[in-house]
């Protein structure tokens, strides 16, 4: 076994650090912070899944939060049908996400550039309105969950149990994507990102690879949705609003795209920043937006360049 890649080491360090958070904050007398940290982990999963298509496949989807919503509603539907097992709910969320991603992805991937961005946004908005119209699921207001799910008979009612299940899911998904992006499939996906015409001239048709990646990313993001619903014990269409899709992109780019580790780091930092800024002012979005604009304008490679200069995320995985 050769030495671990630097980005893998960084990810391991992050995971170990996050594993130590609950005992630490409990010792500090503020166990509520476990919930905040749990939120970071949930969004790390979502940003990771986005990295597969945006970072490795160069597909700028502005509708990724839709799958966060599908996952969350899988919990609400599961609860209504008496299915409280987390794995079953994850399966349900994945099935819904895969179906939606397969159809909308197949249509969106026939286009490129600004079309792709606009169309993924529009389809996510369609899903949003679908759930807004579900009055039995609370419509616009959403619906509160009676209880959290259980995993193989063990209740996740306690914050600690849910936290470590989330961390476990994050580590598993990171490992899975690490393998996937290094595999034959991942290599083709990266090649398509670099130059789709060249890939065709090698004998590949990019479409099926891109579509499969799109569906996998959707399924993985729905896992984050299932966990988010359990964390907040609440499900609403707001989870899949287009702002959320934008925030996922910001998290990912902040940490650095196409590295996996960057997605995790970016989510941890961005969610943390949001929590801190929100303490200071209700109008934190003004500052957040301003920083975003300034960084893109004045850091020549955009946020990625800045992140690289700050040493977040490490170099691009090639």
């Amino acid at each position: 076994m050769s030495a671990l890649a630097p980005r893998l080491k960084a990810a391991l360090a992050l995971f170990v650090l996050m594993a130590l958070v609950p005992p630490l904050v409990t010792a500090l007398g503020d166990p509520f912070l476990t919930v905040v940290a749990n939120r970071m982990l949930v969004f790390a999963i979502a940003a990771l899944s986005l990295d597969l298509i945006l970072g490795y496949g160069a597909m700028v989807s502005f509708g990724h939060a839709a799958y966060l919503g599908f996952g969350a509603y899988a919990v609400a539907l599961g609860a209504r049908w008496g299915v409280s097992d987390l794995l079953a709910q994850i399966l349900l969320g994945m099935a819904m996400s895969a179906g939606f991603a397969l159809v909308t992805g197949a249509i969106s991937l026939r286009t490129k550039g600004v079309y792709f961005i606009m169309i993924t946004l529009a389809f996510a908005q369609m899903a949003y309105f679908f759930f807004v119209a579900q009055s039995s699921l609370g419509g616009d207001d959403g619906v509160a969950l009676q209880a959290r799910s259980s995993l193989l008979g063990v209740s996740l009612e306690g914050d600690l149990a849910l936290y470590y299940v989330t961390l476990g899911a994050l580590v598993a998904i990171y490992a899975g994507l690490y393998r996937l992006t290094g595999s034959r499939f991942g290599r083709v996906l990266k090649g398509t990102r670099e130059n789709a015409l060249r890939m065709q001239a090698m004998g590949y048709r990019p479409f099926p690879y891109q579509l499969i990646a799109y569906v996998i990313a959707a399924c993985l993001c729905s896992v984050a949705g299932v966990l988010l619903a359990n964390l907040t014990e609440y499900v609403s269409p707001a989870y899949m609003g287009w702002h959320r899709s934008g925030e996922l992109i910001v998290m990912l780019v902040f940490g650095g795209i196409g590295t996996l580790t960057g997605a995790v780091a970016g989510a941890l930092v961005a969610v943390g920043l949001e929590e801190v800024l929100a303490i200071f002012s209700d109008h934190w979005r003004l500052g957040f937006g301003l920083v975003l604009v300034l960084v893109v304008l004045f850091s020549p490679d955009g946020l990625t360049g800045l992140a690289k200069r700050l040493g977040i995320g490490g170099s691009k995985d090639v």
């Binding site: 169309i119 807004v132 109008h283």
Partner: protein, 307 residues
């Protein structure tokens, strides 16, 4: 029943006209500069807020409109100068991020300046009241005026694009950007012109809609996504496509919400029809978009191979 349909058709057309005013500038920006601007809806919102402010200050709808339009234009130019022109050569991802940041900033800025509560703008006395349309049916004068103003703008835009030198360059630029650059045209000045004009049209739409819709900080975002649908259906860079698609989207959305449940009742029982109708209506325009894309990935009037 027929009357109700006619009424909804008019409402749909009126909504479509507004969508067109917002989409017209944006589709040219996409087409010519291959630049994705998420913040275009903000100009619509700013137009409405400036209208509310100026109309409130002067006590006159007309003075308000007269002041709001150039103010939006200036606002658009300032944004172009400060932000957009630095983004033209950047990746789509950077453009998405920066304009998303701009939305966050400006929406929050509007909340700070004007508060979150919706504002109202009074209708001018000249345009209030209704006129009889057909039989017992009446239609508000103001909405007719909105349709007329929108159509007049569309015709003006058409004349501008088809009968002026700048318009010719625009058409050429929208279908073949390198060619226009090769002709020695100062592309950045051309774009500033397009942008300023698009900003004013969007601001105009926001200003004239102020008396019939409430002015609130979310209004720019809800219209933005429908504008995208319009542009995708019409084909990026095509004014004609944007016009037809805008009317189509406006009518389908408006008529679908009212008549969806009614038509569904013919094939299913009333409660199921009401439920399904409520669910499908807001999704209709997106399904329409999907259908068009399935048939032609570059929209109705998009250039082929310009994917």
């Amino acid at each position: 029943m027929t009357n109700l349909f006619l009424l909804q058709l008019l409402n749909g057309a009126q909504f479509g006209i507004l969508l067109f005013l917002v989409a017209a500038g944006l589709t040219l920006v996409f087409g010519i500069m291959d630049f994705i601007n998420l913040a275009h809806g903000v100009l619509y919102m700013v137009g409405a807020y400036l209208m509310a402010t100026f109309a409130g200050l002067t006590g006159s709808f007309w003075l308000g409109l007269l002041l709001a339009m150039p103010a939006t234009l200036v606002f658009g130019l300032v944004l172009e100068f400060l932000v957009f022109r630095r983004l033209y050569d950047r990746s789509h991802l950077d453009q998405v991020l920066a304009t998303f940041g701009l939305i966050l900033m400006l929406s929050e800025g509007v909340r700070i300046l004007w508060g979150s509560a919706p504002l109202n703008v009074d209708m001018p006395a000249l345009l209030s009241g209704s006129v009889p349309l057909a039989g017992p049916l009446k239609y508000p004068v103001y909405r007719i005026a909105v349709i007329a103003a929108g159509l007049a703008s569309a015709v003006g835009l058409w004349a501008l694009i088809n009968h002026t030198r700048a318009g010719m360059l625009l058409r050429a630029g929208a279908s073949n950007r390198p060619m226009v650059a090769a002709l020695g045209v100062d592309i950045s000045r051309l774009f500033m012109l397009v942008f300023a004009f698009g900003a004013m049209l969007a601001g105009f739409a926001g200003a004239i809609v102020a008396p019939i819709l409430s002015v609130d900080p979310g209004m720019g975002e809800s219209i933005l996504i429908l504008t995208f649908v319009v542009i995708v259906i019409g084909g990026v860079g095509s004014i004609r496509g944007a016009f037809l698609a805008a009317i189509l989207v406006g009518v389908v959305d408006t008529v679908g919400r009212t008549f969806g449940p009614i038509w569904l009742r013919m094939v299913m029982d009333p409660s199921a029809a009401a439920q399904t109708g409520r669910m499908l209506a807001p999704m209709l325009v997106y399904l329409l978009m999907a259908a068009v894309l399935f048939w032609s990935p570059t929209g109705l009037f998009g250039r082929k191979g310009a994917k």
